[in-house]
Symmetry: C2
Subunit: 446 residues, 2 copies
């Protein structure tokens, strides 16, 4: 019946559907990340997508984000909101379930978050976050483990060469104390953070004219920061010796970086992919100790693909009990963009390795039986469901990108043969048993 | 600082957090389902959690669900709503992206949906759905494949013995036509659907007094339904021969079941777990052909854990173009409940197989290096991050349920030994190299 007014099929502005090729990349990436988290004993938790507005829109939530909240009055007259990140729900979670999960606690969370931002190319109002945190411990070993998880995960994702740049907010604060500019910490860091954007000359100008530092102070601070340029972690930790003994905060910060280095230095997983970089600040308010950023060597302009750091108290909005911790967050959209840019994603629209075409309706039992046998060998097999024109089945296969197409011949007496065509090379092979074709495909896979 | 008003850490009524043990079970279950979907060439898609209200709250959405929608006016004055299922968004998706994904199209989707139902034990306002559909084909082979996917998935989940009960709405409608009660189809099916709840005598009474059937008609219909009781699919398809040749709809329905049987009979995956059952109707409006329900043999009272069927037109709210298909949905909450009830879930709070305890702060480098080496062998290893009292580390380990605890001894000269304790049996073993302990753990795993 062609009746009834039709509804326009459309997504909301700023929201989008993930087509199979994108959803497949995401699923594969998240499976890899979960495997790495699991291997370090991080545990998954899930929190609801909807929370009380007072939890999401609290004072500590920045004004900008407060404006971006999706919020409403629910059926029970409660002010509610969609979560805008996974950190605030985790803070709420750990206060609510501390007795059940215990402290220390290392968790990861993967989920969609929502922000009513002005839509831009590649930025959506619903996007996926992937956070992992180790809370309830002051130990620098936990900070080191975060670096190790980042490195292990990025290697497992096969994203190419990367550099995890590590700093310590205590070192920065201590250095400014030593240079007599400890009262201008916030302004200095805010300016330094712009270095990559505006260039070093503009930074100097702003430090002098805006922040009010003397030329000596500017020189002194920039000299300190440049200590870490191009040096290995152990070299940096040698170079800073001349600054030690002047500020307790500085000395503590350096000592933490040394402890971290003793743990990381023997590890294969972080070899050549971690540096100490005194120019990393990572914003202003939240972090209090070691901080991280990660850049891809092939596309440094892309920005950080995994960052984080140590904080003193995750739960201060909910509880008087302090809860220190350290955590980081993978920038999934940037990682996908990088994998694509580097040509590291297979642009496939199907997990199936072969399409068995259907030439006669009555052959379906043999085709489905053949497919089942191949699946039992671990091969992903799709059967075309009806005997439409072969041309249409080829169009289907090309659209989805099956690496192989298979033509099965069989007789009522049970004789079996098949032709396997490599979709890329067009090479064809004949096999006389399901086992033979399965073995061939498993060999070709390697 | 102990200042500032604290916010109460709580979830909304009807919403809940998933603690690690629950989130681990869910993650494992979904990974298994994804693997099975992949092996049949179903592709994942993702749609947003938020949609236009006119899409979610359209006429075809039942009144009950319309009331349960989470809906609001967004920042752009758009009427929006959280999705209440994954079927309506899929219908919207396939109309919007038909040109990109092509037809036929077999997709799966896993995601959270939202309904403002009255909270009940075990039922939440946010819950996970897992749907798979094969659209754009009339072929019965697609219906057969759905049965095969259900069977393969449930076996992979290790959920114990189950039965997929298959019927065809055409057979039911045809049988009623033959019995001269074709004008009362809706009322008869509504009554029959209550059989398990109210019992056969109450059904007979209602068919007579409510629906207005004669005793002969009641007898005739119940006789027809009972044909399938306790019989194998091939036996049922023999028994119905006496009804054939009287109704075109009936004959078409039986013919589809026969085609399905020729495909399913040779398959290992469905052996002994599929039956034809004429008492299955699966509601009234939506389905038009073959329908399915799945019950666990160990807990039939739990209801269906995977159901679905064939429909004529998925997209009629959005498009004049017909789109037939067949699909099913896994009842994830029921599957988890069943796995728990059957004692088939490991009640563990961690994916880590061993906790390496930390006895001295300066041993961290050796512990982290040891853990890394074990991870390279594929073992999930957690290191306790600080040298607190061993008792506290044991409490941590017991709480999370690490199967093994490991004590590492090493000398500055590089001599290594470790003691591995089985947390359950308390058995202890000493090893003199990381390789030895890894080999032992891999052997014990099997």
């Amino acid at each position: 019946m062609k009746t009834g007014k039709k509804i326009e099929a459309r997504t909301l502005r700023g929201f989008h559907d993930k087509l199979p090729s994108e959803a497949l990349i995401k699923a594969k990436m998240l499976a890899t990340l979960r495997r790495v988290f699991d291997s370090f004993g991080f545990v998954p938790i899930e929190t609801p997508h909807v929370e009380y507005l007072e939890i999401m829109g609290q004072e500590q939530t920045g004004e900008e984000i407060q404006k971006q909240l999706f919020r409403w009055l629910d059926q029970g007259e409660r002010q509610v909101a969609l979560r805008f990140d996974l950190t605030v729900p985790f803070a709420r979670f750990i206060v609510q379930h501390r007795g059940e999960v215990g402290i220390p606690f290392k968790r990861y969370a993967i989920g969609e978050v929502f922000r009513g931002e002005r839509p831009q190319a590649g930025r959506y109002r619903e996007f996926t976050q992937c956070d992992f945190d180790f809370v309830g411990t002051d130990s620098t070993a936990a900070d080191a483990e975060i670096v190790q998880v980042i490195a292990t995960a990025l290697k497992a994702l096969g994203i190419g060469e990367f550099l995890i740049r590590v700093n310590n907010r205590r070192v920065l604060n201590g250095a400014m104390e030593i240079l007599g500019i400890g009262d201008k910490t916030v302004d200095v860091l805010r300016t330094i953070d712009k270095k990559d954007k505006i260039g070093i000359d503009a930074v100097k100008e702003e430090l002098r004219d805006g922040v009010g530092l003397s030329n000596d102070q500017i020189e002194g601070f920039l000299n300190f920061i440049s200590l870490s340029a191009g040096a290995s972690p152990s070299e940096v930790l040698e170079k800073v010796r001349s600054y030690e003994g002047k500020s307790a905060v500085f000395d503590q910060g350096v000592s933490e970086l040394r402890t971290m280095e003793t743990i990381l230095a023997p590890l294969d997983s972080v070899k050549d992919c971690y540096s100490i970089d005194f120019s990393i600040a990572r914003g202003l308010g939240y972090y209090t100790g070691i901080v991280y950023e990660t850049v891809l060597k092939a596309s440094p302009g892309m920005g950080s693909i995994c960052g984080g750091g140590r904080y003193d108290n995750l739960t201060k909005s909910f509880s008087d009990e302090d809860l220190p911790g350290v955590g980081a967050s993978f920038g999934l959209d940037r990682i996908v963009a990088a994998l694509k840019e580097l040509g590291l994603t297979e642009d496939t629209g199907t997990p199936a390795e072969v399409l068995i075409v259907c030439e006669r309706a009555d052959s379906a039992p043999v085709l489905y039986r053949t497919a089942e046998t191949m699946r039992q060998s671990g091969i992903n097999v799709e059967v075309f469901p009806e005997a439409v024109k072969l041309k249409n089945q080829f169009v289907y296969s090309e659209r989805h990108g099956h690496p192989f197409i298979m033509f099965v011949e069989s007789t009522p007496e049970g004789a079996f043969s098949c032709k396997l065509r490599n979709a890329r090379t067009r090479e064809q092979n004949i096999f006389n048993s399901v086992e033979e074709v399965s073995d061939y495909m498993l060999r070709e896979r390697k």
